[in-house]
Amino acid sequence: MADLEGRINLVGSNQPGSHMQAFSSSDAPPAPNLPLPPPGAPVRAYENTLNEPISETIMRDLRMIGYKLKYVLNPKMREERAQKLRDWDLWGPLILCLFLAMILSFQDKTQPESIFGTIFVIIWAGAFIVTMNAKLLGGSTSFFQSVCVLGYCVFPLDLAALTLWFLPRDTPFLIRLAIVGLGFAWSTMSSVAFMGALVTDEKKVLGVYPVFLFYLFLAWFVLIV
């Protein structure tokens, strides 16, 4: 407790600049008497992070999002079953979902709100249902970790939607189909690597088919809007 009192004294002192020094993270050893995190919660939240500058907090979250995106983009990383994936977060899926819904609703002039709502509901309800399916088939995963991975794997379809938006209106249908097909294949491969490992071999197709249907639905949306 001595260092805590030291910090309080520093804040209360009248020296100029002492307030700034009190809040730098360099002189804050981890406090020993914080409560232990409950099992399954991201461990990082329980370090002594109260005194760090906001930029550090935001950068840490951005780095986590970036790491998970690299997992989706890079086939090599899938083999190592990255440990950091245990730290699920829902910021990434939310950003990607909103991005996809906004791009698709910009492209249609007649009923943007219907499209936005449909995409949003499909992504979140779909991720929920696919995860429940995996758990009911006997898979052992934390619920939010699975929703997190499914959400992050929407990223290739985001890129496909963005590409299609910037193509001129009269590109032949086959080229659009090829781009969306590539995005769909990429999403599904990334996701199946994770979901397929959750269930036993004899139920693998049963666990993977809903993932396939989920991304197929989204890909079809990207294609026809």
């Binding site: 219907s114 088939l137 249907l213 079809w220």
Partner: protein
Amino acid sequence: MDTNIRLYNTPASSGPAYLPPAPVSADSVINVSQEGQTSAAAPINTPAPENKSIIPVCGLFTLDYYKPFFNVTTSDVQERIKQAFIPNRPHFFPTIQSNPDVYGPFWIYTSLIFMLAVASNLNYIVQKKSGDPYNFDFNCIGFATSVIYSFGFILPLILNFILNIFGSKTRYVEILCIYGYSTIVFIPAALLSSTGWSIVEWALLLYAGGSSSVFLMTNLWTELEKYILNKRYIIMGLIAASQFLLVLIIKFRFF
């Protein structure tokens, strides 16, 4: 002191019929006799998880309650789907009676919703003249979801209720399973109906409705033949009418 606990109505054939002696606790619904006589517990409708010895009252809200209904392998589901395409053989019902599953019906309904949306869009593209603006109505997806899920889950409930009133001992899950697998015929029918000719659409959808009705009737025949003729016709009429209603809704809303 020997305590034996029996559970009735466990849907899965696996799982022990007798559990190891359970500690008596305040929220247990099992009556345990203390004098060494074997006593049957009050009939409980929840299936027992393998390693728990106390069953909470409201098992309906736990995940473990539903796990026995997903106890199928890939080859099981493939086999059931293949059998569902052949409407006039009654071999489906005995197969599933020991292990009905909810996985098949649920994902068949979801695939049907997707297929209806795709086919409806294709049909629209094929049918519109080249000068018309392209505005596909996305609200049909919400409509499809509500219609298919209500047909798929509530109709078996009604049918099971009526069958139980007439004296059968069928369970909701079994009827749901038959209904779900009978709907599989609609998926290729919907996909092929996107060609745009009205006569083809009608033919395919009527075939799908007829095939699923015949499948339902054939597989429930073991139950139905126990009734007198009037009751049998009531049920057969109900089944045929509900499938035909589904065909009409699909045809007029999506194509």
